[in-house]
Symmetry: none
Subunit: 418 residues, 2 copies
């Protein structure tokens, strides 16, 4: 079956935000075994939206639209898709109720916030449409079907779109697909994208069924192995030897073999299994590593405390970094990273502490320690490892890479020293 993606919204059209929804949905379509030939971005313009939706419904079986479901007059996705498909709109009592509950909640937080008549346009739904409740916002999603064509309408914000797609749309589309497609993820850290590509080139060149597709993420490479077959069991049997081969090639750099397992979750599970507690001492990342770990439900069992010691004063007071170290080597140094990690264990009483200190830029770089220089320390039960990294890109990129590589470094230190 042929699918097509349409992103609606002037914000994406004019480049105010990067279209990450399309990359996400394209990957999901691949997982579902849907053929994807086109992605389109169109602004909040009635005529052009009508034209785009009509063309897409003409050439594809399933169209997935994101954006334009909000309460403002600009938001026209539902109205125009329903019109093109010939489905009249009417108010849905259940959606109206959910909307009122959600807005009441919001008003409780902020008495200034008023509910407007615009909000209620979100409770209108096309006849016969399948309504997808939105637990993360006010705009419900919709699935409409007519004459063998399916239109899936999803809200634009990724935080609303992704959970809705995973909970409701994925299983719905799954049922439409007669052939079984099954895929498994092998996630790798601590090796670069081009090295991974190099090491699997022979596998990619000879691939038929299963196939391998690499996806580069910051500090990680994900390999998706996909098989087509008569049943899930048949697919799994096709996939297994390939997964074994990848495990053989990448060894302990494989940190996960399921879709949803994140690097921070893999680290948390490792700490659980080894009965270790963790703290973090961050300078240039400013809490970003702690925030990723806390993202794991139940992280509180192992993660006791995060310290964001941004000033030298805080490094001394909280972590006991010595005046001499700061004076002789500076805050961005191997010595400081070591003292931060060891001091973090002492202060918070944890078995493990990860420390990072670096220059995220744009200022602060020197010839000897250019922007992007980061030192990381990891103390595991008194044994401390320190490593120097050099990242490229702007401030945000340096910090993002530091957080990702920090988790990978933490993982490798736990594996080696406990």
């Amino acid at each position: 079956m042929i699918a097509e993606l349409i992103s609606v919204g002037t914000e994406i059209l004019l480049g105010n935000i990067v279209n990450t929804n399309s990359a996400y949905l394209a990957e999901k379509c691949a997982q579902l075994g849907l053929s994807l030939y086109y992605q389109t971005v169109v602004g909040d313009n009635e005529g052009r939206m009508r034209e785009t939706i009509r063309t897409a419904l003409d050439r594809s079986d399933i169209i997935i639209l994101t954006g334009g479901l909000g309460p403002t007059e600009d938001d026209l996705t539902k109205e125009i898709t329903a019109e093109v498909m010939g489905l009249p709109l009417k108010e849905d009592a259940h959606t109206r109720q959910l909307l009122e509950d959600y807005l009441a909640q919001y008003q409780k937080n902020d008495a200034q916030r008023r509910i407007t008549s615009n909000n209620y346009k979100q409770a209108l739904v096309p006849e016969g449409a399948y309504i997808l409740d939105n637990h993360n916002g006010t705009a419900p999603g919709l699935i409409m079907e007519k004459d063998g064509k399916t239109a899936v309408l999803l809200p634009g914000p990724p935080g609303e779109m992704k959970p809705m797609f995973e909970e409701k749309v994925y299983p719905y589309l799954r049922k439409k697909q007669p052939e079984t497609i099954f895929s498994q993820m092998v996630k790798i850290c601590s090796i670069g994208e081009s090295q991974v590509a190099d090491e699997i080139q022979d596998l990619i060149e000879t691939q038929t069924n299963p196939t391998i597709a690499p996806y580069a993420k910051t500090g990680e490479v994900h390999l998706r192995i996909t098989a087509k077959g008569g049943s899930q069991k048949e697919c799994e049997e096709l996939i297994r030897p390939m997964v074994r081969e990848l495990e053989r090639r990448f060894g302990k750099n494989v940190f996960a073999e399921t879709e949803n397992m994140t690097l921070e979750e893999a680290v948390t599970v490792l700490l659980w299994n080894r009965n270790l507690t963790l703290s973090t001492a961050e300078s240039c990342t400013g809490g970003a590593i702690a925030a990723r770990i806390v993202n794991v439900p139940g992280a509180s069992d192992v993660f006791l405390q995060g310290m964001v010691t941004y000033s030298n004063e805080a490094k001394k007071r909280t972590l006991g970094v010595s005046e001499d170290t700061l004076r002789l080597y500076g805050a961005v140094s191997e010595e400081c990273a070591k003292e931060m990690a060891e001091g973090g264990c002492s202060f918070s009483g944890t078995d493990v502490c990860l420390s990072v200190t670096g220059i995220a830029g744009p200022g602060g770089g020197t010839l000897e320690k250019p922007v992007g220089t980061v030192f990381m320390g990891c103390c595991v039960k008194g044994k401390t490892t320190v490593r120097e990294y050099h990242f490229t890109g702007n401030r945000a990129r340096v910090r993002e890479q530091t957080a990702a590589h920090g988790l990978a470094f933490l993982r490798s230190c736990i594996l080696e020293n406990s």
Copy 2:
């Protein structure tokens, strides 16, 4: 003039990489005052590329294509665009020479790399085309013109595309555009999207030049005011009264009036101006607020320390939250938020401390304090304000909203209490 973007390549189509080129080029088109109505992504497929290019040339004056200029058989952008525009290909001696020089360089670095006859296909150019040398790769860019239509072909890798666009294409297109476009941003916090929409509905209904476009972000609404005119000065004069009117309507909830000013930067500037230092004491957000503040270059001048006190033990030890408070009211309570904020000021020696403690879920909710309940405290020079919030959505959403509203709360407390 109407422009249109086409990204060519299976990698983007299937979601292996995120399409950042389109966001970049869209913003550049807006700067050039080109109207952008569509963006399309199409795979390396001859028929679908021909169809897409033909449609785009039909409805737009300028089409900008990225990708598909490489040496492999899959790379067809130049061949198909030239065919659709009716321009024959012939070898260009200068391009051939540049290509040979570049490949010789590469071979010096990597003896394994072979030059294939495919490489030389990159030296073929459409008749009359303007050739854009590529100093960062092998594929030259091209500008073709015929019958009042312009096609700009650029390489796909952003590191090759961006410098080529900036050096050659931007000035080329600048000359084509007689009208100047200028826009300004007005950013608002502490008010919801639909309320903002409501309060500017009359302005949007009567808009001509300038126009207003609202963009909803988590915890923020951005309004872009755009004017067209003969010069930047003329545009600025058209924009000014509208900005004044928005300031009148939204008062101190306007936190920024430039494109790049973020909420965390506005808070940091406020602290700078009032000569105040800041610390944070976070529980459920796990450092996410600190991480946003540290994102501001130079934040170290005002932000001294972040404390991620995830366990009760850490709350007591670091922040001096009393055993009684934790026992009687629990860690997620008004009382605890207050003690965290005040203890944070004491421990880190700052003038201001923002504290957050809440239930991000999925577990931990009760009837009295459901998932999404968050208490925030803000101590400004000894004066503490506490507020209760109720957010909806999954763990990541609750945390994202808490961080965004936390910054807005911090800002309003500083405005009121210092």
